[in-house]
């Protein structure tokens, strides 16, 4: 190695330290300048790019955040900061599925990190998934609503027409009354011809019960379809007893109880080496990922994507 190269390295490190100092003092332009110089001297150091990206992030300059993070990742695929910031930048640009991909990679990289960091990344993943779902769900919900109204009208129209047809075959004067009472319990017909009325009443009640039945079926079908969009209670068996939230990274203890990994590790470190529910002695190395529950949560979220809102 030539001495010139070494001094460039050293100089770049000094510039980075200066940049960090400026950043701490909230002098973002000066920090960006320092990092840019460091990059010019040593373009193959990922930290210089992620530090500059952090400055751009502070200014909500998402295009530049994205560009710097992508470069950092070309240098170092395992840069957690680059993955995380790239995910956020893509989320800001409404590129949800790409954002989710990056944030999930960040999650993998953060395993074993502090619970606060894992928590922040998870909540960004949840935000991205909810936004992605909402983008599809809202128009779909509108379409269903419109179709439902259309079908209901068509059904009512069909009922009305059948009553009219019946009316014109019988006494014309009863038509008005039949039409008015289309969905009422009592059919009020003003006519003196009792025989005719009996026959008409029978026909009318037949039409009516057919209408009511079809309407009920229609309601059932659309209610069922609407469930996908309607937030309800998340089942307790898919929630950690400590976070009270859906499991993200569930682990099972020798007592057979499942907890959220990050919070349980926190507990073991800060509260004590015992199972929070059974109080049986517990060490971190005894925890096993609960893959079955993980799959169950995944399946639940696929059916109830609104639950990502608090994920």
């Amino acid at each position: 190695m030539s001495t010139g190269f070494v001094s460039a390295n050293k100089q770049a490190e000094i510039l980075k330290d200066q940049g960090n100092l400026y950043f701490k003092k909230n002098r973002i332009s000066a920090a960006i300048e320092a990092y840019t110089e460091a990059i010019t001297l040593c373009p193959k150091v990922a930290t210089y790019w992620t530090n500059r990206a952090l400055c751009h992030k502070k200014r909500n300059d998402w295009e530049r955040v994205e560009a710097d993070c992508r470069t950092a990742l070309e240098i170092d695929k395992s840069s957690l900061k680059a993955r995380y910031m790239l995910g956020i930048a893509l989320l800001e640009k409404n590129e949800f599925s790409e954002a989710i991909k990056q944030l999930e990679k960040a999650l993998d990289l953060s395993r074993g990190g502090t619970s606060d960091m894992v928590e922040v990344i998870w909540s960004e993943v949840g935000k991205a998934k909810y936004a992605e779902w909402e983008k599809v769900a809202l128009p779909q919900q509108q379409k269903q609503k419109a179709l439902r109204e259309f079908c209901e009208n068509a059904l009512r129209e069909d009922y009305k027409n059948s009553l009219f047809r019946l009316g014109s075959n019988n006494k014309a004067q009863s038509c008005g009354a039949l039409y008015e009472n289309i969905e009422d319990e009592m059919i009020d017909i003003n006519s003196s011809d009792f025989l005719e009325i009996d026959k008409t009443t029978f026909e009318v009640s037949k039409l009516k019960s057919s209408f009511v039945e079809k309407k009920q079926t229609l309601d059932d079908v659309f209610d069922k379809a609407a469930e996908y969009y309607k937030p309800t209670e998340v089942p307790e068996f898919l929630c950690c007893k400590i976070t009270m939230d859906l499991y993200r990274d569930p682990v099972i203890t020798p007592s057979g109880i499942t907890y959220e990994r990050a919070i349980l590790l926190d507990h073991l470190e800060k509260v004590g080496k015992f199972d929070p529910l059974t109080r049986a002695p517990l060490q971190a190395h005894e925890l096993i990922t609960n893959l079955a529950i993980k799959e169950a949560v995944k399946a639940y979220l696929a059916e109830h994507a609104w639950a990502y809102k608090t994920y």
């Binding site: 619970s115 606060d116 928590e119 922040v120 909540s123 007893k241 400590i242 976070t243 009270m244 939230d245 919070i263 926190d266 507990h267 800060k270 509260v271 015992f274 929070p276 529910l277 109080r279 608090t310």
Partner: protein, 158 residues
């Protein structure tokens, strides 16, 4: 919802307290009422003495304060106003109950604490202050929290 989380609570704490409050509202523990307020970090809970116990028809108030890193740390729970006369409740409202201190577990909730406190009241056979009440209360002046003073309790094992 999370945007309204109070400054003093971590994200995890605020999230969990929202859940606990929601669960409480749907399914409150028998004998307790949560006084509605905007303050997620301090709950005031009304306690009604259970029928056929020494505290029947009596009403008390608990003040529950949550630390920033709840539920990794127990909330501070004390009686306000006129604390019930009980061998494990000091006249300043401090409660000698192990789950509030060394035996806390993050799987416990406000609900489960309330149930413990009520069962402590219900099982009491005499209405009296702890034997060391005066000394303890004197030592607690200057607004000491029961969490700082727990080792002064006359009997830590309840």
């Amino acid at each position: 919802m999370s945007s309204s989380s109070p400054k003093g609570l971590s994200r995890i704490a605020a999230n969990r307290l929202h859940k606990e409050l929601k669960e409480w509202q749907m399914n409150p523990p028998a004998g307790f009422k949560h006084k509605v307020s905007d303050n997620l970090q301090r709950w005031i809970v009304e306690v009604n003495g259970a029928p056929n116990t020494l505290y029947e028809n009596e009403t008390y108030y608990l003040q529950v304060d949550f630390p920033e890193n709840y539920p990794m740390e127990a909330p501070q729970v004390i009686f306000t106003h006129n604390p019930p006369l009980h061998p494990h409740i000091y006249s300043n409202g401090h409660i000698c109950l192990d789950i509030l201190y060394d035996s806390w577990s993050p799987a416990m909730t406000v609900s489960s604490i309330c149930i413990s406190i009520l069962s402590m009241l219900s099982s009491s056979t005499e209405k009296a202050r702890p034997v060391d009440n005066d000394r303890y209360v004197r030592n607690c002046r200057n607004g000491k929290s029961p969490k700082e003073t727990r080792w002064w309790f006359h009997d830590d094992k309840v």
